[in-house]
């Protein structure tokens, strides 16, 4: 995002919308008018300052960036699509459609590290550190995830070096693992978390067992690991004959 210094009246109304807090007041020289400016290196191109429409003089504008800067907007703006990976959104359908896709089968768990969530943003070099740590466990990264598309080597977790300095609001390292790998993966995430200059949120998903018990809650409880009282449930109401869909 950029701000046209000639148009900007320095009212600052865009500043609180900035998800990264990187819109600052400045002036071009002594005695010149105050205006706002964006620290473009720290900006993730989420576009919310522009979409808020609070600027009274239309000084905000989003340049069309080429590779690799282009990934900032595609990972940070929820309205953008991934041209590079041709996958929309930051993640996948994951468990939201598991009643249809059976992506997470019994005996397996889904885990993810949501890099930069909540609200800190993340450089890809930090995502690479987490990728590399998890790759050593032999996990298979979700192929439909747009972040996986930025890997140079899925076996080692090495990312395309061109993107390492790019910063995004969030990006999701996603994998499906045998359910007995939940604790080793979690502990690996906890170890590598000490080496990164951002935060990540961890997701854990599994299909309910035939006896209606919840296998991942049991595993976490048995290993004295914390899970939130808050969660997400797919209710299993989906099927292939959607009402009103013909053919």
């Amino acid at each position: 995002m950029q701000i046209d210094a000639r148009k900007c009246v320095g009212c600052g109304q865009c500043r609180p919308f900035c998800t990264m807090g990187v819109i600052h007041f400045t002036r071009s020289g002594k005695g010149t008018k105050v205006h706002c400016t964006v620290d473009e290196d720290e900006c993730v191109d989420c576009g919310i300052c522009y979409r808020s429409t609070v600027c009274p003089v239309e000084a905000l504008h989003q340049p069309i960036h080429g590779w690799p800067r282009s990934i900032r907007g595609t990972f940070s703006n929820p309205l953008a699509e991934h041209k590079e990976t041709r996958v929309p959104g930051r993640g996948t359908e994951e468990m939201k459609t598991n009643d249809i896709t059976n992506r997470y089968k019994r005996g397996y768990a889904g885990m993810a590290a949501e890099m930069g969530r909540p609200g800190t943003g993340a450089r890809m070099r930090d995502a690479e550190k987490v990728f590399k740590a998890l790759a050593k466990l032999g996990v298979e990264f979700e192929t439909n995830n747009p972040l996986t598309g930025l890997l140079k080597d899925k076996e080692t977790g090495e990312m395309n070096p061109e993107v390492l300095n790019e910063k995004v609001l969030s990006a999701i390292i996603e994998m499906i693992i045998p359910i007995n790998m939940v604790i080793p993966v979690l502990e690996t995430m906890e170890r590598v978390a000490e080496e990164i200059n951002t935060v990540f949120s961890i997701d854990l998903v599994a299909r309910i067992d035939e006896d209606l018990s919840d296998p991942v809650a049991r595993i976490m409880r048995e290993n004295d690991k914390w899970i939130s009282m808050n969660g997400k449930a797919n209710l299993g109401l989906g099927h292939l004959n959607v009402k009103g869909a013909v053919g």
């Binding site: 999701i172 990540f200 998903v205 899970i227 209710l235």
Partner: protein
Amino acid sequence: MSHTLHRQGNEDNLQEDYIVFSMTAKKFNEVNSRHALKEFLRILDKYEHVNLGDMKTGGKFLVNKEQIIENVADTSIVHAVFSDRTQLKAVLKELKAADLGVSVIVSGMVKHVEEACKEAGIERHTVEYSVGIRGKLAMLPEDELLEITTMCGHGMVSQHLVRQMLIDLKGGRRTAQEAGEYLATPCVCGAFNPRRAQRLLEELAEIWCFDEV
């Protein structure tokens, strides 16, 4: 992985926050699913919700509700937020009876969602948990602000906007309700809960002060 999974809070305020949403699966049942997704939203709209939206169009604090429903596409992810468990239970019963064939997902306190499902005669298929935040935690804002900002999982509600709303509230420039609803506007999915935000802002306004004021 999820835009509704990592909402922070305590049992007292999370029990006023349930997101019911729907989508269909690419390459499986997506084609022409928009009719069922529209009907899904119309069912949800019959009940007392605090937000409603579709990422393709926006939330109801940005866009007219009818426009949101009319614009629903096969690829939409449609949401409504409820602050009352009684409403949640009634919604789930009607959704089960409607048998739309679209995937239905509920985010909220796990034990309450499970209870609502049982009352509606629904067996949960898959469950997802937040396992918390790791890394450089000093970069995070105060927990009280995270309870508000994490209601937009895409991170569109900035901590700085929340601080601004608190300043406005304390300065008498907005009511808590107005501030809560304003905070819902950056959330294009309509997953933000402005009523819970209002309550949290009211609580914070009592105990916080700002050098900026």
